[in-house]
């Protein structure tokens, strides 16, 4: 199926990204003029929302910072309520290169996957990061692979493409704190088809990533707890939806 026939949107969560968000929007639209863009400003204190509007994006402005999961889910809800059929998710800091989008979109457009995740580690091209982070990333990948009974390499990638089925699930229920890992497990548990696609990502141009060394330990502990408890949950979507 061609992407042009589908109502499609890019969801970009952004927290204080006034310097990056304009370029991200321009690049996405240059890649595909028919692609709508919604910027979810996650309680930004700078001009993120205004810049996004000036660049012609839809803007959802959260009244305070919800964290990445809450922000991304807001985008999913926006897309779901407005009847979009194809969703790409990418970060607002310019790390995700729109020229890589066709790779991420391909499995979803071909109907081979409900959700496709751009992985920095699936291909041969190296991705530089600190030793502790690499260990953590590998460990998470091993655990998620075991749970999913399918090899995954990059459990923290926010560069994803989703079809309407996956969108409906994530609009209804999406993990809050560090959603990509749990999201992968949820996807599998709901019997949606997940696949990974090798991509290259860029270094950030402005500002710093929100994950620091100390936080990554806290992150690992929380994610491992969430994964472990998740195994004992009968229905992944809480009844009534919270």
């Amino acid at each position: 199926m061609s992407a042009d026939a589908l109502k499609r949107i890019a969801i970009v969560p952004a927290y204080n990204e006034e310097r990056n968000v304009g370029r991200v929007i321009d690049e996405l639209r240059a890649f595909d003029p028919g692609l709508h863009v919604v910027i979810v400003s996650d309680g930004s204190l700078d001009r993120t929302a205004e810049v996004a509007l000036e660049h012609g994006a839809h803007v959802v402005k959260l009244p305070f910072n919800l964290g990445i999961g809450g922000a991304v889910q807001t985008g999913f809800r926006y897309a779901h309520e407005n009847g979009y059929e194809l969703v790409v998710r990418c970060d607002g800091d310019g790390q995700h290169d729109p020229s890589q989008l066709p790779k991420v979109l391909a499995p979803v457009l071909a109907g081979e996957a409900d959700i496709a995740v751009g992985s920095r580690f699936a291909g041969d091209e190296g991705y530089r990061s600190s030793a502790t982070r690499r260990v953590g990333i590998r460990l998470l990948a091993l655990i998620v692979s075991a749970i999913a009974r399918q090899r995954v390499t990059d459990t923290t990638s926010g560069f994803q493409a989703l079809n309407a089925k996956a969108l409906a699930l994530f609009a209804a229920d999406y993990p809050h704190d560090y959603p990509e890992v749990e999201g992968m497990v949820m996807t599998i548990k709901h019997r949606l088809r997940l696949c990974e696609v090798p991509v290259t990502m860029r270094e950030r141009e402005h500002g710093r990533s929100s994950i620091t060394a100390l936080r990554s330990f806290y992150y690992m502990a929380k994610v491992l707890l969430a994964l472990f408890v998740g195994l004992f949950r009968r229905s992944v979507v809480p009844a009534g939806g919270a």
């Binding site: 979810v40 959802v60 402005k61 959260l62 919800l66 809450g70 807001t74 926006y78 919270a242």
Partner: protein, 122 residues
């Protein structure tokens, strides 16, 4: 046979008075609608259990003997009090978790409605 340890009368009186004050304060908070019944139940239960154990010295002595507390039966009061405090705190953690989940949903709804409104006006 070794005689089981007894609760000193003064300790019993002081503990009874303190637990009664707790029960009365909780009751007053409910009466003046500053504490909802659903959150007050655990507190009331705590107060009532402590009142009974404090005032009923024979009972406290017997329970202490069952539990193997030889030296000082009022230690059981501490243990029971601590147990209830932990329960109340745990209960609050669940309440806070639910409130923050609801808060997220509200923030998302508000933001989506604002967007819908402003896109309609434009």
């Amino acid at each position: 046979m070794i005689l089981a340890a007894q609760t000193p009368l003064k300790v019993s009186l002081a503990a009874t008075a303190a637990s009664l004050v707790l029960v009365l304060v909780v009751f007053e908070l409910i009466r003046s609608r500053r504490l909802r019944e659903r959150y007050a139940l655990l507190w009331l239960l705590t107060g009532i259990v402590l009142v009974i154990l404090s005032a009923w010295r024979g009972g406290l002595n017997t329970i202490a003997a069952w539990l193997g507390v030889r030296g000082y039966p009022p230690a059981v009061l501490f243990a029971v009090g601590l147990l209830f405090v932990i329960l109340v705190l745990l209960h609050y953690s669940t309440v806070i978790s639910r409130l923050s989940d609801q808060n997220v949903v509200l923030a998302q709804r508000l933001a989506l409605l604002e967007t819908r409104l402003s896109e309609r006006e434009r």
